[in-house]
Amino acid sequence: MGKTLAEKMLSEKSGQDACAGGIVIARVDVAAFQDGTGPLGVRQLQKMHLEKLRAPKAILFIDHAAPSPRKELSNDHMLLREFSRKSGAILSDIGEGVIHQRLVESYVKPGDVVIGADSHTCTSGALGAFATGMGSTDVAIGMAMGRTWFKVPETFRVEVKGDFTPGVGSKDLILYLIGLLGADGATYKALEFGGPAIEKMSMESRFVLANMAVEAGAKTGLIASDRITKEYLRSRGRTKDWRALAPDKDAEYERVIEIDARKLVPQVAFPHTVDNTRNISKALGIKVDQVFLGTCTNGRIEDLKIAAQIIRGKQRAPGTRLVVVPASRDVFLSAMKSGLLDVFVRAGGIVLGPGCGPCVGVHQGILGDGEVCLSTANRNFRGRMGNPEGLVYLASPATAAYSAIKGEISDPRDVYAKKRRRGRVMKPRRKKK
């Protein structure tokens, strides 16, 4: 019988015939901590005297509180830096960026098994890696032993066809899907994305899909490794890391979900759950106090480009703050070089250093009581942005950018419709022959 992507990868790494429902012990290629989960993991390793790390890539990311806003966190950071010196684990210190963005940029390759003490570790699945989030102790043990156990997940195949309308993109697709499945609709499953629309989709947009798989409860989000994956790795100077990887044609799926991208409209997730998604028409006019553009979901260069296109030459609405956080140093540099940061700052926004920024409510943009934030992140749980009285709405970079200049949630398709209209006026009419 044919195998899904998840079954293929876990078979290869476990040396067993991995079939959905079974339990395997698989080799771990990449094991990662961040500064919120790392200190506990490191202490577990120290307790067990397991400082020899067998995972080929053991990496510590300081990104959630980067730079540290409090002495307690500074001390946690010291612990991680010292552990890196002693154990040889790679350190990705403040300024380098968010764990998941750094993992895909520099460390993960197709076919890898990746475990990270962060739920959005599934992001790397877009490269055709089996990547999943676990807790500190699981990752500590996996990092030290170079192996861990998995229940092989059943797979939901998400088949997407058709072209997206301008102003609609992968964030709208994944929000729509989560609304459809519910926050626990894919618990324990792998979501495998494919079909003509995914085959054409940029790597950056694919990361958004895999990133948010966990918001439907999934263990991972997977996409075949193809020529777009190859092109992405080449652009990162990592051509050698590429290999093709695809599910078998006769793979068995627990469920197949078909989506026509042409029919999608911009989506907004209302507080306080990610599956509380609605078409943008239901959100129009909601006043926004803060727009947050960034995170491991939508803090990449493609996202900043889309937002800058909409904001260029305009001002943020009075009363609406605009906080922009590039997901990594490379994103920051490239946005700087291409003048995108200029656009945000001139529009009255603030650009912060690479990292998680206000996403998890540690620092840099905590909401006031009753304030509304429209965020490009992946979560809107009560208290997520540091205040249980704050209201977080989730949307795409295009929706966020357009709403920042309007001061209320607004439909980005309007921008593109206007552009088209204007375009038509500018172009001289072609005479019929």
Binding site: I23, I25, G36, T37, P39, L40, Q44, K47, M48, H64, A65, R70, E72, L73, N75, D76, L79, G116, A117, D118, S119, T121, G133, M134, G135, S136, T137, D138, I141, M145, R147, T148, W149, K151, A183, D184, T187, Y188, V214, G217, K219, T273, V360, G361, V362, I366, R379, F381, R382, G383, R384, M385, G386, N387, P388
Partner: protein
């Protein structure tokens, strides 16, 4: 193992942000202090008023969200003897077993705040003395039962030197 205590009732979709709020991020290396805020954003009275041995009883998808192991850890540290819910989010489930916090998957609809419960983990039964009913729980997968019985993942690895799942 038979556990006894009172029920503290919560709703559906109790996220790790509600169990272990992000604004206490700086307390993650100070677990006893962090435990004082357990479930604070879901029920502000819970941490102060619960007694050791009590149960957290919730609806569906308990523990969704972040991978922070601090969430099950502080539930356990606060003295909760087990969490009963209709279903659990995946990472939370694995974390709870790893830190030795028993989870009971059962239909919790009939249980109310303050009910007197006993939970028999081995038999997979929950007695509600207030309602005079007995509920059946789903049993843990074998691999996880082995880890829980050893006292969590560290103890499991220490004991066997490797994963010993079947």
């Amino acid at each position: 193992m038979v556990l006894k205590g009172k029920a503290w009732k919560f709703g559906d979709s109790i996220s790790t942000d509600l169990i272990c709020p992000g604004r206490y991020f700086h307390l993650r290396s100070n677990l006893p202090e962090l435990a004082k805020h357990v479930l604070e954003d879901a029920d502000a009275q819970f941490a102060a008023q619960m007694a050791r041995g009590d149960f957290v009883v919730a609806g569906g998808n308990f523990g969704l969200g972040s991978s922070r192991e601090h969430a099950p850890t502080i539930i356990k540290l606060a003295g909760v003897s087990a969490v009963l819910a209709k279903s659990f989010a995946r990472i939370f489930y694995r974390n709870a077993i790893n830190v030795g916090l028993p989870l009971v998957e059962c239909d919790t609809d009939l249980i109310e705040q303050g009910d007197e419960l006993t939970v028999d983990l081995a038999a997979g039964t929950v007695q509600d003395f207030t309602k005079k009913i007995e509920l059946k729980s789903h049993s843990l997968p074998r691999a996880m039962l082995n880890i829980l019985n050893d006292g969590g993942l560290l103890a499991h690895i220490e004991k066997h030197g490797d994963f010993k799942l079947d």
